[in-house]
């Protein structure tokens, strides 16, 4: 039972290296523990408060700023995109309207040409028609006059053949009356 004299360096540890009682309650270790603990805490505190925490705070702030900026930029770009889309739509509408105008004017021109051509054709046709009608009327008049002449001659021949004696004047009146009737 050699405890304190040989191997043991402390009243809290026996010569076999086992704890006597609770090591937590060994008061002769307290100054050592407290010294190293306080040293540790001071070192950690200095490291954290001088270097680590401000750095992390700045990184977080920077990230927040970056995110805010990015969101703003994205909104800006979105607005620009909307603007561009509007402009595009407007250009499209303009182009469409212009195209319609061109189509309409072309149509009107063609229509006008067509009208002129039709009018010309119509007048030509009308001229030809009236010419033809005049020719027909001439022919008809010619025909009527020949008929009258033939009828007069025939009537005079008939009257003379029948033994009558008719003046050319009477025969002509009678034929004219007959032709009229």
């Amino acid at each position: 039972m050699a405890t304190e004299t040989t191997g043991a360096v402390s009243s809290c540890v026996d010569s076999y290296g086992s704890a006597i009682g609770m090591p937590q309650l060994c008061f002769e270790w307290f100054p050592n523990q407290i010294f190293w603990l306080v040293l540790t805490l001071v070192v950690i505190f200095l490291v954290l408060s001088r270097i680590a925490l401000p750095r992390i705070a700045s990184v977080l702030a920077e990230r927040q700023g970056t995110i805010t900026n990015d969101i703003a930029a994205a909104e800006n770009l979105k607005a620009k995109a909307l603007e561009a889309e509007d402009a595009y739509n407007k250009a499209l509408a303009d182009a469409r309207a212009e195209a319609q105008n061109i189509v309409a004017s072309a149509k009107a021109e063609i229509q006008a040409d067509l009208n002129v051509a039709i009018a010309k054709a119509d007048s030509e046709i009308a001229a030809k028609t009236s010419e033809s009608e005049a020719a027909i009327a001439e022919i008809r008049a010619g025909a009527l006059a020949s008929v009258e002449e033939v009828a007069k001659d025939t009537a005079a021949e008939l009257v003379s053949a029948l033994g009558g004696k008719a003046s050319a004047k009477d025969v002509g009146a009678a034929v004219a009356a007959r032709l009229k009737g």
């Binding site: 704890a19 009682g21 609770m22 309650l25």
Partner: protein
Amino acid sequence: MEGDLAHIGAGLAAIGSGAAAIGVGNVAGNFLAGALRNPSAAASQTATLFIGIAFAEALGIFAFLVALLLMFAV
């Protein structure tokens, strides 16, 4: 003889750990019951849950400490 009594005392003190287990179970169970009724409020109360568990647990730890003291320090 004294050592034997101390061991018995340590065993009795260890009952306190079981009592602390009941306490912790009570806290956690009630939290769960409340959280299932109103899940949206559960997240804001986890800190309270841990504080409650810590308090209940601490008393069991004190009982354990008494047991340790009886075992090793008396």
